[in-house]
């Protein structure tokens, strides 16, 4: 058993002009766990994902992946190491059918090396592999959905497509930026088992969510961000019991509805 955290975030600070979007945020992520990150809008959750995955340069602090310093590395190199992310504002290739959206990540060096998710080592036909992945993500193979243009897909499928893009790289970590937001209750209910299965497959996940009930069901630990600072970190039960968090979330599922923090 290796005790080293798979991801170490140390004192990450990010300022935009005068705004301090992240202030000395530190946490460890252990292999195989699901870490939930919650916090009001504008508390810096997306910025944290951007900093870890190299999409923006951080002002101060360090990020380690399996003990290797990945601070300031190019985004595509970090993704190539297996640290992938979804976008809160989905970024599909709108002019392509859903399954062709996955042909692009399957063409990446990492997918070629690892065989992609379920690729079985060899990537003969990327179209076939991509439809296999989409099926796992809940795109019904027998329907026309995998062949539909991404621009015509509803939000639920676009969120799944975001996850599928990460999966096609056979990732070690997925940072999910609000994959449940904008979905109906039944859509969320159908996605929770997906997330649980990814964890069972050995993928480590960071989940940013506003839906506390579903998040607390899947998350092993939860971290609360507020105004760019880490408020508290602990098991869902501990976090729920905390006074400050209780005050903010009591009786409400959505952060936007909480007057004190929004």
């Amino acid at each position: 058993m290796n005790d080293q955290p798979i991801l170490q975030v140390q004192d990450v600070t990010k300022t935009f002009g005068g705004i301090m979007a992240l202030n000395r945020v530190s946490f460890d992520l252990h292999e195989g766990e699901i870490l939930g990150i919650i916090g009001p809008n504008g508390s810096g959750k997306t910025t944290l994902v951007n900093c870890i995955t190299g999409f923006i340069n951080l002002t101060r602090g360090k990020v380690f992946f399996r003990g290797k310093n990945i601070t300031g590395k190019a985004a595509h190199k970090i993704a190539d190491m297996g640290v992938t992310r979804t976008f809160q504002i989905m970024r599909p290739y709108y002019s392509l059918p859903a399954y062709k959206n996955l042909v692009i990540p399957l063409f990446s060096p990492r997918a070629k090396r690892t065989g992609g998710w379920r690729g079985g080592g060899k990537l003969g036909d990327r179209n076939t592999v991509s439809i296999d992945i989409l099926e796992e993500m809940g795109f019904e193979r027998e329907s026309f959905v995998p062949y539909k243009m991404a621009s015509t897909l509803p939000t639920g499928y676009l969120k799944r497509l975001e996850l599928a893009r990460c999966l096609s790289l056979r990732p070690e970590i997925i940072l999910c930026d609000e994959v449940f937001s904008g979905l109906s209750m039944s859509e969320i209910a159908s996605m929770v088992p997906l997330i649980e299965r990814l964890q069972m497959e050995g993928i480590t996940l960071i989940m940013i969510e506003h839906r506390l009930r579903e998040l607390f069901r899947v998350a092993n630990r939860v971290m609360v961000l507020n105004f760019g600072e880490k408020l508290i970190e602990g098991t869902p039960v501990e976090v729920m019991a905390d006074e400050k968090v209780k005050e903010a979330y009591f009786g409400s599922e959505k952060v936007e509805e909480v007057t004190g923090y929004a």
Binding site: T53, F55, A74, A75, H76, K77, A79, D80, T84, R85, F87, R91, P92, Y93, Y94, S95, L96, P97, Y99, K100, V103, I104, P105, L106, F107, S108, P109, R110, A111, D125, R126, N127, T128, I131, R141, F144, Y147, R165, C166, S168, L169
Partner: protein, 337 residues
């Protein structure tokens, strides 16, 4: 075993659904429907020199082919990778001077120096353009436009590479028909090669770089890497044209960096139909001869030229090929019903 079987069946269904073209192989009539446009194009280009009234017009066909390569290069970069390039003059100049050196200094024959100049020139152009690959839109365009101007001044000021006189005494082709058909075959080769390329998986990546570069980065792929590949291919086409031009005129000089090489391909692309690849080639076949015809009008031809272009932009902004393809397919629907 069972699983294997099921997979294959599923794949077939997938192909049926996603490939509009499969049914077309069912009868000779439908097969010819698919191949006819291609056949007309290939045969048309191949016999073009034979039906030309004079050697002068055969020479025009060669010039057309050079512009066709440049237009293809522009279309590839602009509509499949998202880099608006005004680098035609840059590519032509670098290709021309490279082949001039290879031919006059090392004594390589044209059929050897042209391919070599194509590759070496493309490497030089790509290296020059490498620092501005992160730039987008108009900035990339400006840089590609500045390089030829810069090189002209450098060559003038330092009096290198023949200075203002250029490099003279470049060997011409031994055979007139080899000279004629070499460039025609190159146009066809690159036209169908690039069409193939953009329909491969790497072509999807190119388009992804254009439409959504953040998602490409999130997929673990370097945007700069794919842009570099595309710029290499595009500048290779330009350098090929430039090298050929140098052997055609037996001269490479400062006018190899003429602005026409950067501007006309854009006009050809607008007229032919952006993003169709065939369209820009057709556009070159229309624009270059017209501009030759109008040569008799002296400086007035610029006016005609501008009017033709204006007309195309105002009335048929989608371009001939887009329009033609649509009409062709609409006709097909009518037959089926």
């Amino acid at each position: 075993m069972d699983i294997e079987q099921r997979r294959r069946e599923r794949l077939d269904r997938g192909i049926k659904i996603r490939s509009d073209g499969l049914y077309a192989l069912m009868s000779w009539r439908e097969l010819s429907y698919l191949t006819l446009p291609r056949l007309v194009l290939i045969v048309g280009i191949l016999i073009a020199p034979l039906v030309m009234p004079s050697m002068y017009w055969q020479r025009v066909i060669s010039i057309v082919c050079i512009y066709a390569l440049l237009s293809l290069s522009f279309d590839l970069l602009a509509h499949f990778v998202g880099l608006v390039s005004l680098g035609g003059a840059f590519f032509i100049g670098v290709g021309g001077y490279t082949t001039a050196i290879l031919n006059t200094q090392l004594g390589l024959p044209p059929l050897l120096s042209i391919p070599l100049a194509t590759v070496i020139g493309a490497i030089i152009c790509t290296l020059f353009l490498l620092p501005c690959l992160p730039l987008r839109g108009v900035y990339f365009a400006i840089i590609t436009l500045m390089y030829p101007l810069l090189l002209i001044r450098v060559i003038e000021a330092l009096d290198i590479l023949g200075g203002t006189d250029g490099i003279v005494g470049i060997a011409s082709f031994d055979n007139r028909w080899v000279e004629q058909y070499f460039i025609i075959l190159m146009v066809l080769l690159f036209l169908f090669g690039i069409r193939r390329l953009v329909n491969l998986d790497i072509g999807l990546v190119f388009r992804a770089v254009k439409d959504n570069d953040q998602a490409v980065r999130a997929s673990g792929m370097s945007i700069t890497y794919y842009k570099t590949i595309a710029v290499f291919i595009a500048s290779a086409m330009g350098c090929l044209g430039g090298a050929y031009l140098a052997h055609l005129y037996m001269w490479a000089g400062l006018s190899s960096f003429a602005l026409d090489f950067s501007i006309l391909p854009i006009a050809a692309t607008v007229i032919g139909g952006a993003g169709t690849l065939v369209g820009p080639v057709l556009g070159a076949f229309i624009l270059v001869p017209i501009s030759e015809l109008l040569r008799a009008f002296g400086t007035l031809r610029i006016t005609f030229y501008a009017l033709i272009l204006l007309g195309f932009i105002v009335f048929r902004s989608e371009g001939i090929m887009v329009y033609g393809q649509r009409k062709y397919h609409q006709f097909e629907k009518w037959v089926k019903v």
